[in-house]
Subunit: 340 residues, 2 copies
């Protein structure tokens, strides 16, 4: 199957952390910690590692760590460290994603694979990941290492399943759900889990925050899949309409196929399998006409609601209102995509 | 720079474990442990993971774990587990190496990158590595996680440096030494370190075994670089003569350049930079005539001797004679390469 030439650039669709002025010292702590980590790399590869940790990223996962472990505005070094671990894992996956997507641009500049070549980029991703686990091993117990390593394996499994399914059309709703749960929701989930746990919250709250993180991650990925069709590139800041061309059967496409007459179903499926030329503009117009946006939005809303429900018994905990603001931001972003 | 089309196939040059009948139950324990680990992978990727852990490998690093932690023939579950961790890391690096080398064959059958495509293979390597660290986190302390994660970063750093240097000729003997120390000796070193430490030996012995492991790894890589020129494919079991063609300035080539007259030096360097067609047969003949084999063998011997010297004060410890047999096997293998 062909590699897509999708390019991604900044700014990112969701600027979670920018709306939390409270988080500024935490994010500053995170960036300092990431720089310290790079200084521990072998001198010959330090510059390359530094290139990858650039500070223009969204830092969504670190924000989840800090918010789910929020007690007051004190910067907790354990949370900074675990946020750095999870961000390094995430950055490693981005380096490897860009190789696979043949992406030349990442956050408005050359991707690592473009700058250093795919061979070095494979190894650089590996080195970032290895260092993340080395940092995780600085906690007094193996708990962080174990959780982060298992989550990483699950993220990779999700990406592998998605890769192997490209261009195939026999994908059920539950297959889709499983992939986004693994590839996206897993790191959101573990961020909330470790943030709330390391901040010393009760097991009940840790469990609720973990559920919220997972559901937010699922909703975020559905939003991302919706934006691929309904977003404006100028607003979203990345090339859109690439899922159809790269044979990825996401929820909006599934809903379009379901709502289309028989002859049209076959035509859409042929675009996914690569048997005919993708027509993203036509498909977006059809999605608009057939109410696909609304159905996907409903699915997304129900995922988000499930996460919010988990937090209900904990409304007076300091993290709760902060976590819930993330739902509000996501809802605003979805509203901005809604066809008029 | 072009990807080489080097292929590698079994059998491997050094059958360390096959000569240690004593190790059979340990290796059986290792293989059972690896199968258990694969069972923990997500069902969709289990078959792919299983494909990678096949039992035809040399298991050199596990052998180092078992031998450096040898007390009697009892199988120590801690050693089995750490051997599995290190072998999983090694298998992950092989999966990624094959992508970068464009290698179609690994151990006599299709490589993972050939079977599943390079995108899935990048992720599969990541998943294997992530699982290795998850398994490492099952020890009571973070010590194994920390050591293995740091070693992995160092292995990757070595491979990155080597990759970035391909086709360049300004490489000093100490640059070469640093790359082989990182890319090969590091996992040998950590195998001996963790094996002897987990078996409860004294810090003095752990330190000696660790030094031995590192020196054996350096010597092994020099042997491998020598075999690329002097080996017979039927004996060594992999395609040889590829270092010159892929622009890798290894010790035998360095010694050949040093020993050659000025005009010839330039011709050899042009083959390394890709400015002229590589002539491996001519270069091997020149190495033979100019005594390059002997000089490289002397360098290798001095590395090995340094490792053996570290073990001298510990001659009565059960692992010592077993570790020293590995030097003897390596010496036999080198002797079999020596030009008549």
């Amino acid at each position: 199957m062909p590699l897509t030439s999708a390019t991604r650039s900044n700014p990112a669709p969701l600027e979670f952390s920018s709306v939390f002025a409270d988080l500024a010292p935490h994010v500053a702590g995170l960036n300092a910690c990431l720089r310290d980590q790079v200084a521990q790399f072998e001198p010959e590869i330090r510059e390359m590692a530094d290139y990858c940790i650039d500070t223009s990223g969204k830092r969504i996962r670190p924000a989840l760590v800090f918010l789910s472990g929020w007690r007051d505005d004190t910067v907790n070094p354990d949370l900074v460290r675990v946020a750095a671990v999870i961000e390094l894992v995430h950055l490693a996956t981005l380096v490897h994603d860009d190789i696979m997507d043949g992406a030349d641009i990442r956050r408005g500049r050359e991707s690592a694979t473009r700058s250093y070549g795919p061979e070095a980029a494979v190894l650089l991703g590996d080195a970032l990941f290895a260092h993340a686990l080395h940092l995780a091993a600085q906690f007094p117990t193996t708990m962080v290492c174990s959780a982060v390593a298992e989550s990483t394996r699950r993220v990779c499994a999700g990406e592998i399943i998605q890769t192997l399914r490209r261009g195939t059309t026999r994908i059920s709703r539950s297959d889709y759900q499983r992939v986004i749960d693994l590839k996206t929701a897993e790191l959101f989930r573990v961020s909330c889990h470790l943030g709330s746990h390391l901040a010393g919250f009760s097991p009940e709250f840790v469990s609720a925050a973990t559920t919220y993180g997972r559901q937010l991650g699922i909703a975020y990925q559905i939003f991302d899949d919706l934006a691929d069709f309904f977003g404006q590139e100028s607003k979203i800041g990345k090339t859109l309409g690439t899922d159809l061309g790269s044979g990825k059967l996401t929820l909006p496409l599934m809903e379009l196929v379901k709502a289309s007459p028989e002859g049209e179903k076959a035509a859409i499926l042929a675009e996914i399998t690569g048997d005919s030329i993708p027509q993203p503009d036509l498909r977006v117009a059809q999605m608009r006409d057939l109410g696909v946006f609304g159905r996907v939005e409903t699915a997304l809303e129900s995922e988000l609601a499930r996460g919010e429900k988990a937090l209900e018994p904990h409304e007076n905990r300091p993290p709760t209102s902060r976590l819930l603001s993330l739902s509000a931001i996501l809802r605003d972003q979805i509203a901005s995509l809604r066809p008029q």
